[in-house]
């Protein structure tokens, strides 16, 4: 199989040359599964469809009640020590009962944006991870930035059907979430 631009050159015994060009199958695209506002002490997104290849989570303008509170995540309501997170190629143990999605966030100005891609989230044979990129208002100086490229890690093989979001301290003051399914 050879690729040229967006077309593929594939073997086909029916063709006299034994080869033919084919256009890629339709696919891709993002389907907004849900959206809402961050409130209370925690937000659980439940009954996530397993029909997509990946999940794409966007959290915008996350503002915690407590200055500097980090946004945390769990999956499937699992509060056991089965998580970790890293910003580099490394190794380690799953020694946390949650993973973190950003650096500290100011509690007066909230202009941050966090995006997370969960690859192959519904398979039932591998550990799961999410690729995070985020920018937030620094807690000590809100006009300064924190940029966080992170990987959140989870050592369970079950499909992710629920995402649990919560600040490391206090309630959510405001913010928005958007969850997309990616084909």
């Amino acid at each position: 199989l050879f690729r040229y631009g967006s077309a593929f050159f594939v073997a086909d015994s029916v063709e006299t040359t034994g080869l033919k060009w084919v256009a890629p199958a339709a696919g891709g695209g993002y389907t907004l599964l849900t959206s809402g506002t961050l409130s209370s002490s925690a937000v659980n997104l439940t009954s996530i469809s397993a029909s997509y290849t990946d999940l794409y989570l966007v959290v915008s303008n996350y503002k915690p009640e407590t200055d500097g509170a980090v946004l945390r995540i769990r999956f499937n309501g699992d509060t056991n020590t089965r998580y970790n997170w890293t910003n580099a190629s490394s190794g380690g143990t799953f020694n946390s009962s949650y993973a973190e999605l950003n650096a500290t966030q100011d509690n007066t100005v909230a202009q941050g944006l966090i995006t997370v891609v969960f690859r192959d989230y519904s398979n039932t044979s591998t550990w799961k991870f999410g690729v995070v990129e985020g920018i937030s208002n620094a807690a000590d100086t809100a006009t300064s930035w924190n940029y966080q490229p992170l990987k959140v890690l989870y050592n369970q093989t079950g499909a992710i059907s629920e995402i649990n979001l919560f600040p490391s301290s206090g309630n959510f003051t405001s913010g928005n979430y958007y969850l997309y399914g990616v084909k």
Partner: protein
């Protein structure tokens, strides 16, 4: 009492309710962990600052040495 928001994606139903005793216990546990982690980070930062002062160099100079 702390509340929790549950958003069922399949049905679109959103429920905001008081946390159960189990959820509150977990919340308190999480908050204690957060405090412990913050204290550990602050302790390491203080130790780093003390070491830099002992060596008589700035953080930027330390980075240059290790580069």
């Amino acid at each position: 009492m702390s509340q929790i928001k549950i958003h069922n994606i399949e049905t679109g139903e959103i429920i905001e309710r008081e946390m159960t005793a189990e959820e509150l216990f977990q919340l308190e546990k999480d908050n204690k962990e957060a405090e412990a982690r913050a204290a550990e980070i602050a302790k390491k930062a203080a130790e780093k600052a003390a070491l830099l002062e002992k060596l008589g160099i700035t953080e930027e100079e330390a980075k240059l040495l290790l580069a």
